[in-house]
Every structure is written in C-alpha cells, then in structure tokens.
C-alpha cells in the first residue's frame, strides 16, 4: 500500500504552468476567450457601464457623428449609440446561449437515445431529422417564430429548434461509434445497466465533437439573432440589439453612414471569437492534431 504513496506527487504549480504553456501556444484561443469574458462583464455591468440610458430620446441631438462627447454619436431618435451598443451585448449573449441551450436539451438526448436503441425507432427518427435538416434554417426559424409569436425569446427558441436535429444527428453518430467499442462490451459483460453505460461511457466519449459544434453554434445563433432582430422578428424596440441598430442605421444610410459601423463590428467580432474558440477547442481535443 505504501508503494502508491511513494509515487512522486505532481507539484501544485503544474496546472498553472500547463495553462501558461497553453496560453503561449494558442494565442488565438486566449484572445477570443478574453474578448468573450470582456463581453460577459460588459453584459453584466451594462447598467453601470453605459454612460447614458439606452432608450431615452433627445430630439435636439439626432444622428450626431462619433465625437468627444457622445463617443459613438447618437441615433435617429437621439439615443446614445455607445449605450445602446453596451445594452445590446446582454441581449446577444442571452440569445446565443438560449438558442444553443434549447438545441442541446432537445438534440442531445434524442441523439443518444436513437443511437443507443437503434432499430426502427432510429430509422424513423433519423428520417424525421433528415426532413428537418432539409429546411433552410433561418426560414424555418422565422416560420416558427411567426407561429409562436414575435419576440427575442421565441425567436431563439425557434433557432434552438433548428439546432436540435443537427446535434441529434452528431450525437447519434458518435453514440454508434462508442456503443460498439470493446470497453462498452466489457462493461456490459460485467453487468452494467443501460443508464450506467450511457452516462459513464457513452456521454463522456461522445461529447467532444459536441463541445466543438456547440461553440461554433454560438456564433451561428448570434448571427441568427442579429438577422432576426434586423427583420424586427427578434429583440423588440425600444430594447437595444445590434441587429436592430443596423436596421435603423440602414434607414439613414445616405445621411449618416457611420451609424452602421459599430453594431456591425460588434456582431462580427463576437462571432469571430466564438468561431475561433471552437476551432481551438477542436485542435485541443483532437489527438491527431496535438503535434502541430
């Protein structure tokens, strides 16, 4: 028994060191993660950080250009653009995480179930998934939003509903691979229950591509929210959203084209950060890509 205790104990610092090494090696991940954390902080502290109210109008100060006083100028109703940009952040993050969350809650269990059970249940459900994947995603999301009722939460429930079949198919494929692995057979041989096998063996081993896909989906959800809010199907005025800001800016593109740059950049950078993070996770999790 003492032999085990004699093993060299890994020094406490090794984890910090590993993180530092990872940060040096994967600058992209560090930059995008920092950006997203910053965005999260901005979202949480939006009420404190925003210099002005995002919805108070001032008809004497319409469409002011970016300057020293209101940094990013004012919109067509005299509202402070920077404050609206800051208040748009929590809406965007809420939208992304809600849509992806709904996709996970619906898609992952279904994928696990049909992958594990197989048979006619799998046949029928897989055809249904194929059918759902044949719909142009935004068009289906718009139709579902229209049916459920216009608004940010319903819009993102709809986007999540569009994500679910993608995740279900991915999880199903992963489950099929793991299900027939030797160690699962062994576990079954030792009398492990189905739920034990799913929770202890299939989920941990099937989850890696799902993590990557989910991170990339955050970017897709963000862009979908921007599109839907641009079409006035998402965030409802006077609440602030980046897509909605672009829609207003477009009405005044001839007299104040600078209105469209800040919200567009915010969407682009956030989507880039989610995508970059997803790619970095993919590389980090993929054993064949370790030695690059």
């Amino acid at each position: 028994m003492t032999a085990a205790l004699d093993l060299p104990v890994p020094p406490q610092r090794s984890r910090t060191k590993a993180i530092l090494r990872w940060m040096r090696r994967d600058v992209r991940a560090v930059v995008s993660l920092s950006f997203l954390l910053l965005l999260l902080i901005v979202s949480i502290f939006a009420p404190v950080l925003a210099p002005y109210s995002p919805i108070d109008q001032d008809v004497t100060q319409l469409l002011l250009p970016p300057s020293a006083a209101p940094w990013l100028g004012t919109d067509d109703l005299g509202r402070d653009v920077l404050s609206r940009l800051i208040w748009g952040a929590p809406n965007s993050l809420y939208a992304s995480f809600l849509a992806v969350g709904v996709g996970i809650v619906l898609g992952v269990p279904i994928g696990l179930l049909i992958g594990f059970l197989g048979g006619w249940f799998d046949e029928v459900t897989s055809r249904f998934i194929d059918a759902l994947l044949s719909f142009p995603p935004i068009v289906l999301a718009i139709a579902v939003t229209g049916a459920l009722g216009i608004g940010l939460t319903n819009a993102m429930l709809s986007v999540g509903f569009v994500f679910a079949p993608v995740l279900a198919r991915l999880v199903r494929a992963q489950t099929l691979v793991v299900k027939n692995a030797l160690y699962v057979d062994a576990a079954r041989g030792f009398g492990a229950s189905t739920s034990h096998i799913i929770i202890k063996h299939i989920v941990p081993n099937a989850i890696q591509p799902v993590i990557v896909q989910v991170t990339l989906m955050l970017a897709i959800a963000l862009l979908a929210e921007a599109s839907l809010s641009f079409l006035s199907l998402g965030v409802q005025p006077p609440a602030a959203s980046w897509g909605g800001m672009l829609a207003r800016a477009y009405n005044y593109i001839e007299i104040a084209p600078e209105q469209m740059y800040a919200p567009g950049l915010a969407i682009l950078l956030t989507a880039l950060a989610f995508n970059a993070l997803g790619e970095s996770i993919r590389v980090a999790l993929d054993p064949t890509m370790k030695r690059r």
Partner: protein
C-alpha cells in the same frame, strides 16, 4: 439511361418519407400558434360565421391527421390557400416572387463556386505558406461576417458612393436582362461571401487530404507534373465532394436571401416569408416554407444523381 432512371426511382423512394415528414412539419406550424387555428386563419375581426366557414373549408373540425391529408391534397393541386392580408392566392404570390429569389441565389452560387473553389485550391496547393494563411484567415472572417451588414456597406460604397449599381429593387430577367443582372449583383455578392468562405475551407481540406494520399505520391514519384496531378487526379477526386458541398449551400443561400432581400427591397420569397411572419399571415408562411423545402429536397436528388454519374461507386450506396 435505364440505370439512371432506376437510380432516380430508388432515390425518390428513399426521399418519400423525408418529403412526408417535411410537409408534416410545414402543416404542423399552424398548430404551434396559440389558440384555435380556425380563428387564426380567419384573420382579425372575422365574424363567427366566417370562422365556422374556415373551419369547414380546411377541415379543422376533423381529426389532426385528416386535416393534414386535406391540406396535403390541396397543396398537391397547387392550392396553398389565400393570404390573410391581401386574400391573393398564395401559390400566385409565390410564383410571382420566386424568380427574383432564384436569380440572386443562382447568381451567388455561381460567384461562390468559382471564387470559393479557386481560393480553396490555391490554399491547398500552397499549404503552410503566407497565401494559405491569408486565405484561411479570409475564410474565417467570411464565416463570421453578417451578410446583411456587408450588404449595407456595399450599398453605401458601390451604389450610393460610386453609383455603379442600383440601390434597391429588382428587374424582370426576361424583358430587362441587363437591369436584372445589375440589380442582382450586389445582393448576390453579399449572399456569396459566406458560401465562398465555407467552400474555400472545405475544398482546401478535401484537396489536402487527396494530395497527401498514396497514389498521388506515386504519380509524383513517376514524374507527373504538379499541374497534371492537380487537374487530372486531385480535382477529379474531389468532384463528388464538391458537388455535395454545392448542394448543401442551397439551404444557406435561401436562409441568407431572407435578410438580403430585406436590405435590397427585392420582392422575393425571402422578404415575403419574413413580412408574412411579422403580419401573422400563416398561409403565406406555410406556402413559402413548403416550396423552399421541396426545392431543397429536389436539389439533393439532383446532386445524388449527378454524383452517381461522376463516380460509379456513389451509385452503389
């Protein structure tokens, strides 16, 4: 020829459950609306009598599956109901607007096919160089770029600034082809960028894999020029992958068209579905979604058949 017909028949048979499920989803959209479908379909301020009429007309007093059957039979006859807003026939509305959407989608697909494949090939044949890094970076940017924002920038610079292109609207392709192309160029470019990025990435990785394979190494070893290796063997081997990729982009193009049509005020089915959803005009929403999903499924069929022609191995699957 007989072989191809058999293949089409088999694929259609396989697609049948997908078509049935897809139409079922479209039909079920109405069931998601809170409240009585008959009241919803009758529109605002409808009389009790009108609601009862609608209920009978659509068979809404029947069991759910019978309702679906009635709806599907009507749809097969081309009867998609009437708009709640304008009481125009939904199929007429769609037929009138579909060409505008198809024009920008096909135009975008052509642009994206040419540019995306060229970028992918350029990157794959120069892996690890600055050009490869540049193209890969560009593709990452393209995937994250909101297409409607790009569209706005294009309008601000190229049409309002330089007056190269008209700002909004569409022209009929048959009577005014030049006008139609000019109107469709900026929307098509905005739509194409995301597809270009996706194609460049996928073509790059598919081609890298082929070029690293054993038989390509053998061809190189026996002294075949790199141009011949690329064109005769590399690209030929990814042609089926490429076709599948292009087919998959149709979904993305229709999705993008919704927002792009809004930016350019194009009277297509994309702006139609968005406006109808806003105005709770459900027969129109259902009609557009149905038509688009059927187009997507038929394009999948076409891709399958063309793949089988390009690669006999694909026909076996």
């Amino acid at each position: 020829m007989g072989k191809i017909l058999r293949l089409v028949g088999r694929r259609l048979w396989q697609l049948l459950p997908i078509i049935v499920f897809a139409t079922f989803v479209v039909f079920s959209l109405l069931q998601l609306v809170p409240g009585d479908p008959a009241v919803v379909l009758a529109g605002d301020y409808a009389s009790e009598q009108r609601i009862a009429e609608i209920r009978q007309l659509y068979g809404l007093d029947q069991p759910f599956l019978v309702q679906y059957g009635v709806w599907l039979l009507h749809a097969l006859e081309g009867n998609l109901g009437r708009s709640l807003l304008t009481s125009e026939s939904v199929s007429q509305l769609i037929l009138y607007r579909l060409p505008n959407t198809l024009l920008i989608a096909v135009y975008a697909l052509v642009i994206a096919g040419v540019v995306g494949v060229a970028l992918g090939v350029a990157a794959a044949t120069r892996v690890g160089t600055r050009l490869d890094a540049f193209i890969t970076g560009l593709a990452s940017l393209g995937v994250a770029l909101p297409s409607f924002w790009l569209a706005m920038i294009l309008v601000a610079t190229l049409s309002l600034g330089l007056h190269w292109f008209p700002t909004t609207g569409a022209a009929p392709l048959l009577t005014d082809p030049w006008g139609a192309i000019m109107h469709a160029t900026l929307p098509a470019v905005a739509l194409a960028v995301g597809v270009i990025a996706e194609l460049a990435r996928q073509v790059r990785s598919a081609l890298i894999e082929v070029l690293n394979s054993q038989y390509i190494r053998t061809l190189r070893a026996k002294g075949l020029s790199s141009g011949a290796v690329l064109w005769k063997h590399g690209l030929r081997n990814i042609s089926v992958t490429l076709l599948t990729l292009l087919g998959l982009q149709v979904n993305r193009l229709f999705s993008g068209a919704v927002v792009i049509e809004a930016v350019f005020a194009i009277p297509g089915v994309g702006s139609l579905v968005a406006n109808s959803a806003l105005n709770k005009d459900f027969p129109v929403v259902q009609g557009v979604v149905l038509v688009l999903v059927v187009i997507v499924i038929l394009i999948n069929l076409l891709v399958d058949v063309l793949s089988a022609l390009l690669d006999p191995r694909a026909a076996e699957a």
